[in-house]
C-alpha cells in the first residue's frame, strides 16, 4: 500500500507534466528545426527589432516598478497602521487580476475622453509601461516587503548607536541585507514583463510588439507554425538563462540572515514619519485603485450617461457575431474550466509537493526544478505546444474542450507547489517523530500531522489555481474553441471590435471578472493570515 502510494505520487506529477508540458515543448523544438525556421528567425531584421523592444521595455518597466514598489515595501515592513492587512491584500489584487482586466482598465483610462486622455497616449508604449508597473508592484511589495519585515531592525539600531545617521545606517546595513531580495524580486518582474503577452497584445501598437505577441501572430494570423515555434524556442532559451541567474541569486540569498518575527519589527509612525507613511500609502492606493475604480464606474456608463445597458447586454440570451454564443455562456465556461483546472492542479501539484517536501536531496531538487519549468515558460508557449503536439497524439485532443483546463492546470501547478511546499517543509520533523513514538504507523503520520497542518495551504493553492485559470489568457487563446470562449477571450474579442456597446461589454465583463478574482484573493489572504496567526 505504502509502496504503491509512493510510486503514485511521483508518477502522476511527472507523467502529467511529461504529456502536457514536456511533449509540447519537444514538439515546438522539433517544429522549429524543420524548414530552417530557426535560421530564418535568427537572421530576420524585423524579429531582431522585436527582440530588442522586448528587452528594453522589460528593463524600463522593471526599473519603474522598483521606484513605485520600494517605498510601499518599506512602509508595509516597518510601520504599523490601521488597515495594514487590507492594504497588503489590496496591493496584491492587481497582480492576480487577469491581464485582460488590466488591459481594459488602461485602455479605458487612456482612450479619447478617458480620465488620462490629455496625455494623448492611447495605444502604445506609454500605457503599456504604466500597465506593467501597475501589474507588478505587488511582486516588489510582497517579496521585498516580506523579507524586510523579517529583517532584524536592531542591526540598523546598532549602526545608529555606533554613530551612523539614519540614511547611512540604511545604506550600510539595511540595503546590503535587502540587496539579494531586491535583485530577486526585480528579476521576477523582469521575467514577467519580458514574457508579457496579454498587455502587449491588447494595449501596445503593432509597431511595438514582443516576442510573445509575435509567436501568436505567426501561429494564429499567418499560420506559420515553424516560425512561431522557432521564436518560441528563442524565447525559452532566453527565459531559462534568466531563471538560472535567478536561482543563483536565491542560493546566495539563503546565506544566513538573522530573521525575527514580523510583529517585533514594525511600529507606529511618529512625527514626520506619519507624513511619509500617509503619503506613500495614499499614492500607492491611488495608483493601484484608481484605474480599477474608473473601470468599474465607466462600465456603468454608455454614450455619456449612466446606464446598465452593458450589463444587460451580457445577460442577453442571444448569440452575438462577436462571441458566437450568449455572453453569459462565457462566464459559465470560465467557472467550469476554473473548477476543473484548479482540481487537476491541486491533485498533481499537491502530490508533487509531498515528494518535494519529503526528503532533501538531489532527486527531489531535480523534481522541484522540473515542476517549476512551466512557471518559466510563457503561457503562449504552452498554448502553442498544445496546438502543435496534441493534434496527432493517440486521440486528437485539439477539438476537445478539455484542452482548456488542462493547459490552465499546467500554468497553475507551480503556484500550487509554491503554496504547499513551504507549509509542508515548515512542519517540524519532530512532530512526525512524536506521532510515531506515540504509536502512529507511518501511513497514519501523514494524515494526523502533515495534512491537518498543511490543509490551509492546499486551500490557498486551490484558490491560486482557480484565480490563475479564471484570468488565463495566453494559453487559452490558442486552445479555446471559438464557440466556447472564456471570459478573458470574450473580453479580448469585445475590445477588438469598434462600437460603444462592445467596449461597454468588455468593461462590464472585466468588472465582473475583477470582482470574482478579488473575492478569491481576499479569501486566500484571509486563510493565510489566520494560518500564520495560529501556528
Amino acid at each position: 500500500m505504502t509502496r504503491v502510494w509512493r510510486a503514485v505520487r511521483v508518477v502522476i506529477p511527472i507523467g502529467f507534466l511529461g504529456v502536457f508540458f514536456v511533449w509540447p515543448v519537444v514538439a515546438i523544438i522539433a517544429r522549429s528545426l524543420t524548414a530552417d525556421a530557426l535560421r530564418h528567425v535568427l537572421a530576420d531584421h524585423g524579429l531582431r527589432h522585436v527582440a530588442w523592444f522586448t528587452l528594453w521595455q522589460a528593463a524600463i518597466a522593471t526599473g519603474l516598478t522598483l521606484v513605485v514598489g520600494l517605498p510601499a515595501a518599506y512602509v508595509v515592513a516597518r510601520y504599523q497602521f490601521w488597515g495594514k492587512r487590507l492594504f497588503r491584500a489590496f496591493v496584491t489584487v492587481p497582480f492576480v487580476l487577469p491581464t485582460v482586466v488590466v488591459a481594459t482598465a488602461f485602455l479605458v483610462l487612456f482612450r479619447p475622453g478617458g480620465a488620462l486622455s490629455f496625455l494623448g497616449w492611447q495605444r502604445g508604449v506609454g500605457p503599456l509601461l504604466v500597465a506593467e508597473v501597475f501589474f507588478n508592484v505587488a511582486v516588489i511589495v510582497r517579496t521585498v516587503g516580506g523579507f524586510w519585515s523579517y529583517l532584524d531592525p536592531r542591526r540598523a539600531d546598532a549602526a545608529r548607536v555606533l554613530g551612523a545617521s539614519r540614511a547611512r545606517a540604511f545604506r550600510e546595513v539595511t540595503l546590503p541585507a535587502l540587496g539579494p531580495s531586491i535583485a530577486a524580486a526585480a528579476s521576477i518582474v523582469f521575467l514577467f514583463t519580458f514574457t508579457a503577452f496579454g498587455l502587449v497584445l491588447l494595449i501596445s501598437d503593432p509597431a511595438h510588439s514582443t516576442l510573445e505577441v509575435e509567436i501568436y501572430r505567426q501561429a494564429n494570423e499567418l499560420l506559420d507554425f515553424p516560425t512561431a515555434a522557432a521564436i518560441a524556442l528563442v524565447q525559452i532559451v532566453a527565459v531559462f538563462s534568466l531563471l538560472l541567474v535567478l536561482a543563483r541569486m536565491q542560493e546566495r540569498r539563503a546565506v544566513a540572515q538573522r530573521l525575527v518575527a514580523a510583529r517585533d519589527t514594525s511600529r507606529r509612525a511618529r512625527g514626520w514619519e506619519r507624513l511619509v507613511v500617509g503619503g506613500v500609502l495614499g499614492a500607492t492606493a491611488v495608483f493601484l485603485g484608481g484605474p480599477l475604480l474608473v473601470l468599474a464606474l465607466e462600465s456603468l456608463r454608455l454614450g455619456g450617461s449612466w446606464s446598465l445597458a452593458s450589463y444587460r447586454a451580457l445577460g442577453s440570451s442571444t448569440a452575438t457575431d462577436t462571441l458566437y454564443v450568449p455572453a453569459w455562456q462565457a462566464l459559465r465556461n470560465s467557472l467550469e474550466f476554473a473548477a476543473l483546472a484548479a482540481t487537476i492542479a491541486v491533485v498533481v501539484g499537491g502530490l508533487a509537493s509531498v515528494v518535494i517536501a519529503s526528503r532533501p536531496g538531489r532527486a527531489t531538487r531535480a523534481m522541484d526544478t522540473f515542476l517549476m519549468l512551466p512557471l518559466g515558460t510563457s503561457a503562449v508557449t504552452v498554448g502553442l505546444g498544445f496546438l502543435v503536439a496534441l493534434d496527432r497524439w493517440p486521440v486528437d485532443l485539439r477539438a476537445k474542450a478539455v484542452l482548456v483546463p488542462l493547459a490552465q492546470a499546467v500554468v497553475a501547478i507551480p503556484f500550487v507547489i509554491r503554496a504547499v511546499v513551504p507549509a509542508l517543509r515548515s512542519i517540524d520533523p519532530r512532530l512526525r517523530d512524536a506521532a510515531r513514538a506515540l504509536g502512529a504507523p507511518p501511513s497514519r503520520v501523514w494524515r494526523e500531522v502533515d495534512l491537518p497542518i498543511a490543509m490551509r495551504a492546499f486551500l490557498v493553492g486551490f484558490g491560486f489555481a482557480a484565480a490563475v485559470s479564471l484570468g488565463e489568457f495566453g494559453a487559452t487563446l490558442f486552445v479555446a474553441r471559438p464557440e466556447s470562449p472564456t471570459i478573458p477571450i470574450a473580453i479580448s474579442r469585445f475590445l477588438a471590435r469598434p462600437g460603444e456597446l462592445n467596449i461597454g461589454q468588455a468593461m462590464a465583463m472585466s468588472t465582473v471578472l475583477m470582482v470574482v478574482t478579488g473575492a478569491v484573493v481576499l479569501a486566500i489572504e484571509h486563510v493565510q493570515v489566520r494560518q500564520i496567526g495560529e501556528l
Binding site: D428, R430, L431, D433, A434, A435, R436, A437, L438, G439, A440, P441, P442, R444, E448, V449, P452, I453, E534, L535
Partner: protein, 339 residues
C-alpha cells in the same frame, strides 16, 4: 529491562554514537549527562526507533528491538522543545497516543483527565498549545508521553528552555512522578545539577562514548578524568608531580594516596569541597575577589602561584585584601595521570 550493547550510529563519516553500552533496570532513573553534540539525543532517538543504529543491539527484556518500528515500541519520548502538535488543543495532544492505540472514546477521556490531573493542567484541557507558557507546554508534553502508559519514559532536555524557578519546580515534580509511577526512565541533560538531583545512576557521555557511569555521588566524588571534572565545574587543573613523600603541588606538599605511581607528572583538580578556610591552614593567601552567591560567598584566593576558589557562608566571609589560611582535604584532591 532496557539493554544496549555496543550501539553505534554513523551519519556518513560522522559517528554520533560510538559504541555505547547501557542498562536501565526496573523503576530505575538513569541520567545521560554530556555537553551538546555528544550524541545523547541521537542515542535516545535510536532507543525510540526513530534512528536506526548502524551496529550493536538494543533489547527490551531480552527481545531484540531492531525490527520493531517506533510505533510498536511503547516507549514514551518527551522531545526537546516538546514537539507539541500545533493543530490540536491540550487534550488533543494528550489523547493522541490513546487514539493510535484504538482506545474507546470514554476511556480516552477518562485517561486524559487523569493524566492532566497528574501534571496539574486540568483547567487547560481545551486550550491551544501555542498560547501556553514554556512550563505549561512542558507539562503537556509530559502528560502526552505518560498517557499511553509507556514501558519506558525518555526525557530529552525536558527543562532546557525554562526559566530557573520553573526548572526547580518541575524537576521536583518529575522526581516525585517517577517515584510514584516506578517507571524506568532515561533522562538526557547537559546540566549536572539536574542529573544529580534526579537520577539513581549517571552516565557521562562525550563524543559518542561513555566516559563514566555510576551513582551520582560516585561520579561527583571521583570524576573519571580531567575532562569530566572540568565538565562538572571543578578545576582548573594544575600541573603537579608525585614524589616519594607525597604530591608536589603549587600549594606545597600534599599527602595523598597516590595510586598513580611515583616520580611522574600528573594533573591535579581540587573538588570544590576540598578547600576550606582554616586560620591554622598550611596554605596562606590573600583574597582578591569575593562574589556574592546568596547565602554563600565565593572567594578567590591568591596563593602566590595559583589562585584557589573557596566557598564559605557569606555572613562571616573575609573581605577582599584580607589574608587567610586554607586547608586542603586530601580526599578532595583528584589526581589524574598526564596522558
Amino acid at each position: 529491562m532496557l539493554q544496549i550493547e555496543h550501539a553505534v550510529v554513523r551519519f556518513g563519516d560522522a559517528t554520533a554514537v560510538d559504541g555505547i553500552d547501557l542498562d536501565v533496570g526496573a523503576g530505575e532513573t538513569v541520567a545521560i549527562l554530556g555537553p551538546s553534540g555528544c550524541g545523547k539525543t541521537t542515542l535516545l532517538r535510536s532507543i525510540a526507533g526513530l534512528q536506526p543504529i548502524t551496529t550493536g543491539r538494543i533489547t527490551w527484556c531480552g527481545e531484540d528491538l531492531a525490527r520493531v518500528p517506533p510505533h510498536r515500541r511503547r516507549f514514551g519520548l518527551m522531545f526537546q522543545e516538546y514537539a507539541l502538535f500545533p493543530h490540536r488543543d491540550v487534550a488533543g495532544n494528550v489523547e493522541f497516543g490513546l487514539r493510535m492505540a484504538r482506545i474507546g472514546r470514554d476511556q480516552r477521556r477518562r485517561r486524559v483527565t487523569e493524566v492532566l490531573e497528574l501534571v496539574g493542567l486540568t483547567d487547560l484541557a481545551g486550550r491551544r498549545v501555542a498560547g501556553l507558557s514554556g512550563g505549561e507546554q512542558q507539562r503537556v508534553a509530559l502528560a502526552r508521553a505518560l498517557a499511553v502508559e509507556p514501558r519506558l519514559l525518555m526525557l530529552d532536555e525536558p527543562l532546557g528552555a525554562l526559566d530557573r524557578p520553573w526548572r526547580e519546580r518541575l524537576l521536583r515534580e518529575i522526581r516525585s512522578l517517577l517515584d510514584r509511577t516506578a517507571l524506568p526512565a532515561l533522562y538526557v541533560t547537559h546540566d549536572h545539577e539536574e542529573a544529580f538531583a534526579l537520577a539513581d545512576r549517571i552516565v557521562v557521555m562525550r563524543s559518542g562514548r561513555v566516559v563514566q557511569a555510576g551513582a551520582a555521588a560516585d561520579v561527583w566524588r571521583h570524576p573519571a578524568d580531567v575532562w569530566t571534572a572540568d565538565f562538572l565545574g571543578f578545576g582548573p587543573a594544575v600541573e603537579a608531580a608525585v614524589g616519594s613523600d607525597g604530591l608536589v603541588t603549587p600549594w606545597g606538599l600534599l599527602a595523598v594516596d597516590a595510586a598513580v605511581g611515583t616520580d611522574r607528572a600528573v594533573r591535579v583538580v581540587l573538588r570544590p569541597d576540598a578547600v576550606r578556610l582554616d586560620g591554622a591552614g598550611a596554605v596562606r593567601g590573600t583574597i582578591v575577589h569575593r562574589a556574592f552567591a546568596g547565602d554563600r560567598a565565593e572567594l578567590t584566593v591568591e596563593t602566590g602561584r595559583v589562585q584557589l576558589r573557596v566557598r564559605t557562608p557569606d555572613r562571616d566571609a573575609p573581605d577582599v585584601g584580607d589574608s587567610v589560611g586554607l586547608s586542603i582535604e586530601p580526599d578532595g584532591v583528584l589526581v589524574y595521570p598526564v596522558a
